[in-house]
Amino acid sequence: MATTTLETRENRRAWGFVTPALLWTVAFFVIPFIVMAAISLATRKGRELVMMWNLDNYVTFFEKAHLLKGLFVSLEITFTVTFISILLAYPLAWIIAERVPQKWQRMALIMAILPFWTSYVVRSYSWLLVLAKNGVINNTLMQIGLIAEPLEMASTRSATVIGFVHFFVMLLTLTIYANLVQMPPNYRRAAADLGANGFQVFWHVVLPLTLPGIMVGAFLTFVLCIGDYITPQILGGNNELALPQIIMLQLGRRADFPMAATLSIILMGVVTLAYIACARWLKMERT
C-alpha cells in the first residue's frame, strides 16, 4: 500500500515536470503541424483558399519537374555538405582532443566555434565577397600568377556548399570531440598491445566508438542544411532552387499556402526518414 502511494506520488511529480514541456510541444508543434497538414490538403483558386481536402498538391509536386528538382537539389547539397563537413571535422576534432595540450583545448574549441558568434546572414554575404570575381581568393590567385582569368565561384552551388561547410564543420567538430575525449585511452593501448598498427587501431577501435558522435553531428547537419533558405539564396545566385527557396516563393509571391504547406510536409518527411536511418546512433541511453 505504502509502495503504491509512493509510486503514485512519484508519477505525479514526474508528470509535473514533464507537463510544461508537453504543453509547449503540443501548442507549438503538434497543433501547428496538424493545421499545416490540413492546409496542405486545401487548394488555392485564384486568391481564394478552398478547403477541398484532396491530395492535388502532392500530385502536383511529383508531376511538376521544377518542384521535384527542388527536393533533389536540396538532397544533393545536403549530402555533399554533410560528407565534406565530416571529412574536415574529424581530423580537426582529433587534433584538438589528442594533440592540443589539455589546458589549451578549451581555447582551441572556442576558436573553432568563433564563426558561430557572427550573424548567419553577414557570414553568408562575407563569403560572397570572398568568392566574387574581384574577391579575395581570385585577387590572390591572380596576383601570384596561378590563374590568368578569375574563377567563377560566386553564385554557384559550390559557393552554397562552401558557405554551409564553414558553418557545419564547427558543429561536427564539437560532437566528434565530445566522443573522442570520453573514450578511455586503455582501449587503444589494448589494441596496440594485441599487435594492431596505428591504422588498425583507428579503423577497428576509434572509428566505431566515435561513430555516435559523427552520426549525431551528421544528423544535425542534415536537418539544419536541408531546411536552410538563407545560404542558397545568398550564395547560390538563384541559379537553382532548393526546396526551402521554393517554399518561400509559394509564400512570398503567390500566397499559395496549401502548396507551401505541402512542400513543408514533404521536407519534414525527408527529415523523418533521415532520423529513422540514423536512429540507431541517436539513442540517448548508453549501452
Binding site: 485564384g46 486568391r47 511538376k64 519537374a65 521544377h66 518542384l67 528538382k69 527542388g70 537539389v73 566574387a132 570575381k133 574581384n134 585577387n139 567563377e152 560566386a154 553564385s155 545566385g237 538563384n238 541559379n239 537553382e240 532552387l241 521554393i246 516563393l249 509564400l251 512570398g252 509571391r253 503567390r254 500566397a255
Partner: protein, 362 residues
Amino acid sequence: MFRHVSTGKTRNKLLSGAATFILGAVAIAHSAQATEELNALVWCDHTDPALIEPFEKKYDVKVNLKEYEGTGAGLSIIEQSRPGDWDVFVIDGVDVHRAVEMDLLAEIPADALPTADLFPEVVMAGNNTLDGKTYAVTEKFGYNTISFDKTKVDPKDMEDMSVIWSDKYAGRIAVYDYYLPVIGLVGLGLGIDTADLGADDMDAIKEKLFAMKKVSKQVGEVVSSQTALATGEVDILVGGGEWITAVLSEDKPNLDWVIPKQGGLRWAQSIAVMKDSAKPDLALKFVQYIMSPEGQARLSTSSCFWGMPANAKAGANLSDAQKAALRWDDQPAYLANSQLYPIPDADLDAQIQDAWVEMLQQ
C-alpha cells in the same frame, strides 16, 4: 579591393560615425516620443530617412515602413496581417485594380491630389481610378530595360533585345528577379506587346526565357543585381534601367542603360490609402507629402533606387546633375517607346510564375 585610410581620416570617420550614432539615437528617442504611428507597406525607395524624416517632424509621427518587392509579395503580407495593420500601400500602378477588387484601398478625393501637375503619360487614370473613383496616384516611374557597363560591352549590341539570350555575353549577364518585367521584356523581344501577352505565348516565351537563363550568371533582387553590375561581377543586367544606374552615376559613370529598338517596359508605382486604416487623414497627408514637389524630388533620388518623379514640378527641386542622371530631357522619347507591365489574370499569373521557377531550375 582594399582602401588605405590615413589615421586622420580614420579619426574623422570615427567621429562622424559617433555623430551619426548620436543623431540616430536622438532620432530614435524622438520617434519614441512621437504621438502617432503610421504603418506603410512600401518599396525600398521609401525607406530613405531623407524622405521620411521631414514628414515625421512636421506631423510629429513615427512612420513604420515595411518594404517588399513585387505585388504578389505585398498582397501576401497583407493577407497575413490583420485589417487595419497598414495605413499606406505603395503598389505597381498596373496592379491598383487588383487591390481595389480585393477591397483593400480607400477612395482618395480627386481634389486632394496634384493630378494636373503630373506628366500626362503617367497619370494612368485607367489604372488608378475605377468607376470614376480615384484609389491611387502615380508617384514615380522609370524603365525596366537593359543596364550595362559601357566599357566592357558594345553599347550597339544592347540596342537589340535578342542580346539577352545570345551567346555573345554568356556568363556576364544578371537577371533582375522580378518575373513580370523580365517576361514582359522577353515578350517584347519576340514582338509581343505586353497588353497582348496571353497563355498562347507562354511556350515561345519559355523557350527564350530558358535560353536567357543559360547565358546568365545570376538571378537576383534589387540590391544583389545592383551590386553585381557595380562590382563587375556581371556586365549586363536584364530588367535594369535608370533605377539601377542613376543612383551610381557619380561613382560609376561607366554604367549605362538603353531602351532597345523593340522597346522597354515602363514601371510606375502608385501610392494609396488602405481602406481599413484607422488613420485615413494622416495616411492621406502622407500621400500628399510624397506627391508634393519636395517629397517627389526626395523620392526620385532615394538611396535605394532613383526614378522619375511623377510630378513634373519636382524638377525645380532637383539639381542639373540629378536631372541629367534621370535623363529628364529624354523622357518624351522614352515614354513613346515603352509599354506598361503585363497585367495577367490569376490563371495566367500562375502560369507565368511556374515558367519563372522552371527557368530558375534550368
